[in-house]
Amino acid sequence: MGDKDYILNISDRRPEGKYITPILKGLAYTLKNFFTKPITIKYPTERREVSDRWRGLHRLKVDDQGKLNCVACGLCAKICPPQAITIVPYEDAGGTRYPKEFVIDELRCIFCGFCQEACPKDAIELTKVYDFVDYQREDFIFDIEKLKNPEKYIFAGK
């Protein structure tokens, strides 16, 4: 076996004598692209349609009277892998349980959706809001009021 077998001969990569047509082809291709509509979107004004199963910010669902579905059973807090959910339950005189405090630390949350699956009352769900931004860590700790309406926190640009 000679040395030559190991060396890739570069001149073999292009057909002999072809310089001009590939150059013109390349120019034509880029010119065609120049007149094609861009496939990127103008993000904050135009938004990408995400899957129905998208797991974004949480929402605490409310019933017809505007009361929380949640009965503060604590299953979501129990199953939550990063332990992002804190619940302080409360039981009134009639025996109805509801959460006095329901806090999700959105910085700890890994958006696995286990809380949604664990919930027996269909009280918590993950919305399609995927671009919540803020300046302070405290702003990412969502209490009941914030969790009721996560759509308010869609990033609107500026």
């Binding site: 150059i23 390349g26 120019l27 291709y29 880029t30 010119l31 692209n33 120049f34 007149f35 094609t36 861009p38 496939i39 990127t40 103008k42």
Partner: protein
């Protein structure tokens, strides 16, 4: 005399401002065209379709921190961008934007100067401009800078020759070194028809002189981390950047002048034709940049010396023969 001086100063100011505006907006054209070629939008946020982007960039450049490395050769480090931009802006003086116009009863030429050796001046000054990059890379005390500067020097020497050969063919056809006379000689037939090979040669070598993408050896982002201007920041970097785009404008103007008939054209006015052709050439510069990958350094050198130089010589020889036979 006073009147002459006033007219000259006004013309200088106008040419300077127009050149800087074109420089600023060719960066916008570059980003916009590159964006659309890559199926993106390019700048959109600052102003209508990003039209204020160059101004925002300029303002940002002024407010950036100025850094001079400890082991840089300070005087030369500061001098390099000045040489670069100085040479680039000086070239604008020789560009003939149009023929004479009559404003308020005075004949005013739409070019600043018309030296008899205009073309030689262009070649000489553009070479001085390349010194800016070389000195900048060398003085910044950075290995990438040095390699970028050396590559710039080698490339400049190799491609300047073929550029001059392409220009010689045009001079033979036109019979003058003055840019204005060259444009006048193209009234009937543009030089691109008479000298198609010189046109191709000029564009290739011009792109190499501009350090634009197939030949951006001195910069070579991927291998040299920006080459000669690694250590430059703030307005010093912006000056290099402006010099590059100013050179691009002058190159486009030169192609227009030498090959595309300058201000000649039907229907609309001379200067309009000139700027139309110039902007087409600027667009071409961006277009080819988006198309071609960077050549390997040794390939650039062998292409310059083994193909372009003989090609240029042959072109001159054939032009001479053609002129001898047809007695032009």
């Amino acid at each position: 005399m006073l009147e002459f001086m006033t007219i000259l100063i006004i013309k200088t100011l106008v040419a300077f401002v127009v050149a800087l505006l074109i420089v600023a907006y060719s960066t916008w054209i570059e980003r916009k065209v590159l964006g659309h070629v890559q199926l993106r939008h390019g700048p959109r946020r600052v102003g209508y379709h990003g039209l204020l982007q160059p101004i925002a960039d300029g303002v940002k450049g002024f407010f950036k921190e100025e850094l001079i490395p400890d082991n840089a050769d300070k005087p030369i480090f500061i001098l390099a961008p000045i040489i670069s931009i100085g040479a680039a802006v000086t070239l604008v003086a020789i560009v003939p934007f149009g023929d004479t116009v009559t404003i308020m009863g005075r004949e005013i030429t739409l070019y600043l100067t018309n030296p008899d050796v205009g073309l030689l001046l262009v070649l000489g000054i553009s070479t001085i401009g390349s010194y800016g990059g070389i000195l900048g890379g060398w003085s910044s005390g950075n290995k990438y800078g040095v390699i970028g500067g050396l590559r710039g020097a080698a490339q400049m020497i190799s491609y300047e020759l073929s550029l001059a050969l392409a220009v010689i063919a045009v001079v033979m056809v036109s019979g003058s070194l003055s840019l204005v006379d060259i444009v006048h000689s193209q009234a009937g037939l543009w030089n691109i028809v008479k000298q198609p090979f010189a046109f191709v040669l000029f564009i290739i070598c011009g792109l190499a002189e501009l350090n634009r993408t197939p030949f951006d050896m001195p910069e070579a982002e991927a291998e040299l981390a920006c080459g000669f201007n690694v250590e430059y920041s703030s307005m010093k970097f912006a000056l290099f950047f402006m010099a590059e785009y100013c050179h691009m404008f002058v190159f486009a103007a030169l192609v227009t002048t030498l090959f595309l008939g300058g201000w000649h054209g039907p229907i609309i006015d001379g200067p309009h034709w000139f700027f139309l052709k110039t902007f087409f050439m600027i667009f071409f510069c961006v277009w080819e940049r988006s198309t071609f990958p960077r050549l390997r350094y040794d390939q650039v050198m062998s292409f310059g010396w083994k193909i372009l130089l003989p090609f240029g010589l042959l072109n001159i020889l054939l032009t001479g023969l053609w002129m001898l036979i047809f007695n032009i």
